[in-house]
């Protein structure tokens, strides 16, 4: 039950975050909104890190630098998310974002790119994807 609640609120917060960013950007601009929300998030995560210390900077030496700098992609993700929400609303934005995300992850898993555990292509995944796209089409009309 606790796990269900955590997962439920995790999803709710992702949506809230997109909508809140979009609201903030109306007043201060989109790059500015991305900047201050990530800055305050960074500060709080850093404070938590000081208490929990679940890794050290040494450990980063073992990680491919390309994987490490991917955090910078967050700027473009937030910019795109805000712009899309303002143009087509939260429901369509999140549905399309989700389809794009699941599709690319699916392709990466089939191909085993980036050292990800290879997965087999199965019919249910194609049916599921088709249903999600159908749902977006229904939403759009």
């Amino acid at each position: 039950m606790k796990g269900i609640l955590f997962s439920f609120f995790g999803g709710a917060f992702i949506t809230l975050q997109g909508v809140a960013n979009s609201r903030i950007s109306q007043d201060i601009g989109t790059w500015q909104a991305a900047m201050i929300t990530q800055f305050t998030g960074f500060l709080v995560a850093f404070i938590i890190l000081l208490f929990i210390r679940d890794g050290n900077w040494q450990s980063f030496k073992q990680v491919n630098p390309i994987y490490m700098i991917s955090g910078a992609l967050g700027a473009i993700v937030i910019f795109s998310d805000i712009t899309a929400i303002q143009q087509i609303g939260a429901t369509l934005t999140i549905s399309i974002l989700m389809i794009a995300q699941l599709s690319l992850t699916f392709i990466i898993e089939i191909k085993g790119w980036f050292g990800v555990v290879k997965q087999k292509m199965k019919l249910p995944q194609f049916i599921g994807m088709g249903m999600m796209i159908l749902g977006v089409v229904i939403l759009g009309f």
Partner: protein, 156 residues
């Protein structure tokens, strides 16, 4: 309309890449080390992009309300919730539930026009659309016995 669709697609593709890369960093360090790094780099990148596109304007924040400075905490809440959800449940279930509540809340926010969103009137069409998407999520996630890479949690 088309630009909105394109931006949403770009965001989704990048979230996918970012989650896979973040999980690679996570394997070697921990959740909070990874989260701190990701948010710190995201902040720097936003600052640089803002300076490139808008120059000094990047620092003229206009009228901010106090809560703007706390909105970043939502991202920390996302990490706490998803990490615990995945720990307590099977990752596949945890992610399916999170995806479902994401779309559900989006419909709620649009329908009520909360937080300055342009109100999109609720229609039966919208409800059916969301239900079909959610059904699709469960068909995609829960059948076929795929092993989860734990690479799909969204932390942005």
């Amino acid at each position: 309309m088309i630009t909105g669709l394109l931006f949403a697609t770009v965001a989704g593709l990048l979230v996918s890449l970012q989650n896979i890369f973040n999980s690679k960093v996570n394997e070697r360090s921990g959740t909070w080390t990874t989260t701190t790094l990701v948010l710190g780099l995201g902040f720097l990148a936003s600052l640089i992009m803002g300076l490139l596109f808008e120059g000094k304007e990047q620092f003229s924040l206009g009228n901010t309300e106090i809560w703007y400075w706390f909105a970043g905490l939502i991202g920390v809440g996302v990490v706490i919730c998803l990490v615990n959800g995945i720990k307590l449940l099977d990752p596949t279930y945890a992610i399916s539930i999170a995806l479902t509540s994401q779309v559900g809340f989006a419909l709620l926010f649009d329908s009520f026009g909360w937080l300055g969103l342009e109100k999109v009137p609720f229609t039966v069409n919208k409800l059916i659309g969301v239900l079909v998407i959610v059904a699709g999520i469960y068909v995609f996630k829960l059948s076929g016995g795929r092993k989860e890479n734990e690479s799909e949690q969204s932390c942005t």
